[in-house]
Subunit: 398 residues, 2 copies
């Protein structure tokens, strides 16, 4: 059964932007009328033209948009003034095709950096995608945004808010690991919740912190990363503000949806054989917990140990010490799932290497770091640094 | 001809700490009397026992020491109270063997983390190393500090200061790339310069910034990194202060020596096929230039592109944008040796991919990033992230 959401139609087309013949590479997500909209954009200071355009549009329109047009195969990043023109032209073509205002169409691109968009093909693709618009088109849309992902990644949630059933559907495409010369992560969510722009913005910011902002493949943030959310308001009536328990329930459902998409994203990386949940406890502050978790998750030494299934806990302590926050090394405990590997900063008295190595064979496991220095916690999803990663990234264009 | 330095003798022994039978794994560097001493230690907050001991010793002795005792094969890191005791015992054994005060012996260890030192073997090795002490022993000493390095890395310089010929000799052992579950970089320098502790400390801090603090293999700083310098004072007479032009000349010679050792270190990494000098120009401040250079040098995407010889300049701009400093993307120029690859943030008008790919076949080349946003500059030595790195680090203990 296909994922649907009241008030939305989705389209896709194969425009020949990607090298693979017949691959879907233009997607269109359209609301029947102007929707509440919120988005999170890359923190990279080098921002692709579509990112700059969409940021400006959301600011100007006060958090409202009617559609999102996406192409894969070319990131329209580092393309100078021509890139800015091309992004605007994509918005205009999509707006014309669905009868909307160009100032209400968000634009996203993903693919190779530094190459001008083939605008004739893109324009033709947008027209074809508009003709294919259908309430059942989400699966095709989710395919059209992919680059070298192995599979489409889509999910849905329903939640009851104010007596009405609210639907959220989302899709994502990955990730440094898969195609790091691509620009890189795109995520789109449609919901029929009745929620004003300000509430939507608060929800997306709360939901992204423990999900998409707590995964790492290689620590590089791309020029194009975009997570956008449109709300049609078709579920429920009356005022469009979500408050109190309703707002919490909506944010929870959104977080849950993004969590599934983020896990799918990291698990789909070529070269990824293990997804490790790094759980840091007992930190002095949330910021400290987060820094430690992030440092472990990004350490090449830890990531190669994960790849090799080597319970080399000295590398983990070394990464903790490099996180740039005060710690007490002599208090730190390390655990892999149910196996203690270090206690009080030294080898656990009952440490049996074979048991730890056994845990590291599992496709997913928890690495728990207890700093015993406070009450704050943080989690991060990490993965292995394997031959597959080097293969894809060293040899990508040859 | 062996490297020698007035006032110093060097010894080495095979104590059976390393697995390889007969491999030198204990080294001793001894001055005929108490010398001026200065050192730089790891910034990692998890510090091995010998690092903590040596730091305390230098503080207490006001920058004076007579000897350095080193073992390889075991880092004595994350070894709890027993590790602290063992480090002290190493200093005491070395002091007894050469007739010095235990409070004048620096200790360094490198090798596996989290495993107690085999102290009987270590003590016997220190005795044997002391018996082998000789003015011609620097080569053996340089071998005794190695772990999985492919070759010993030693160098010397002479410089005339105040009419006297001053000698500096140094050796180093590597590096994350080679043995990242080892703890990792050790560097020792002996000089006969007549220089007080304060001057020595100033010289070492100035010399380390553009050399050992401007190289990166994988961005991980180990628990044991140590760079120590002893000055016997045998060259020259009179007051032991170096001032003005003399201090500058000494610092220059030291910087030059450390530069050679740092280059040897990064070039000796297994899996390293290309050493790339990342030169950042036109930054608003030294700190900004340094951050940009460091981010490029540590980016897995840039490093895999170097490995693959792929002139994928979008990855470089992406790393610049992730450096966390204000930049103007539309001004940035990128050059590989003499080949322009990007101008004003987009593909260079005359960009020919084949020419750039040709540069990237060279064993060493310059990657120049001009931010056109100020006058500050910084340099960093980077290397490739290759299959060899993953091989060694994923499979090291299996």
């Amino acid at each position: 059964m296909s994922l649907r959401c009241n008030g939305f139609r989705f389209g896709a087309a194969a425009a020949g932007i990607k090298k693979q013949s017949g691959a879907l590479d233009v997607g269109l997500l359209a609301c029947e009328s102007v929707a509440s909209a919120a988005a999170i954009f890359t923190q990279n200071r080098v921002k692709a033209a579509p990112v700059r355009l969409s940021q400006a549009l959301l600011r100007k329109a006060g958090g409202r948009a009617q559609a999102i047009v996406v192409n894969s195969g070319n990131a329209n990043a580092c393309t100078g003034a021509a890139g800015t023109r091309d992004a605007r032209q994509m918005a205009a073509a999509a707006a014309a095709a669905i009868g909307a205002d160009a100032g209400q169409v968000l634009v996203a691109s993903t693919g190779v950096i530094g190459v001008p968009l083939p605008m004739e093909r893109v324009a033709a693709g947008i027209g074809a995608a508009a003709e294919s618009l259908s309430a059942d088109g989400f699966d095709a849309f989710a395919h059209a945004i992919l680059t070298t992902d192995k599979r489409a990644k889509a999910a849905g949630r329903t939640v009851t808010i104010g007596g009405s059933k609210v639907t959220l559907i989302g899709c994502t495409k990955g990730a440094g690991m898969i195609a790091p010369n691509m620009a890189t992560t795109l995520t789109f969510v449609a919901t029929d919740a009745r929620v004003a722009p300000r509430g939507l913005d608060a929800a997306i910011r709360a939901a992204v912190a423990p999900t998409f902002n707590a995964i790492t493949v290689d620590g590089d943030t791309s020029t194009n990363d975009t997570l956008a959310l449109l709300a049609s308001g078709r579920a429920g009536k009356g005022k469009s503000g979500l408050a109190g328990a309703d707002a919490r329930r909506f944010t929870e459902a959104l977080t849950d949806l993004l969590d599934e998409l983020a896990r799918a994203l990291i698990g789909d990386g070529e070269g990824v054989h293990h997804v490790v949940r790094v759980c840091v406890r007992g930190a002095r502050s949330d910021a400290a917990a987060r820094k430690v978790a992030q440092r472990i998750a990004n350490s090449p030494l830890v990531k190669t140990a994960i790849a090799g299934g080597d319970p080399n806990w000295g590398r983990i302590l070394c990464a903790v010490g490099n996180a740039g926050v005060p710690i007490r090394p002599e208090r730190i405990d390390l655990t892999l799932d149910d196996v203690a590997i270090a206690r009080a900063g030294a080898a656990a008295p009952d440490f049996v290497e074979a048991r730890a190595a056994e845990v590291m064979q599992r496709p997913t496991y928890d690495l728990v770091v207890d700093l015993h220095d406070g009450k704050a916690e943080a989690r991060y999803l990490a993965c292995d640094l394997s031959h597959g990663y080097v293969e894809i990234n060293a040899d990508y264009r040859t």
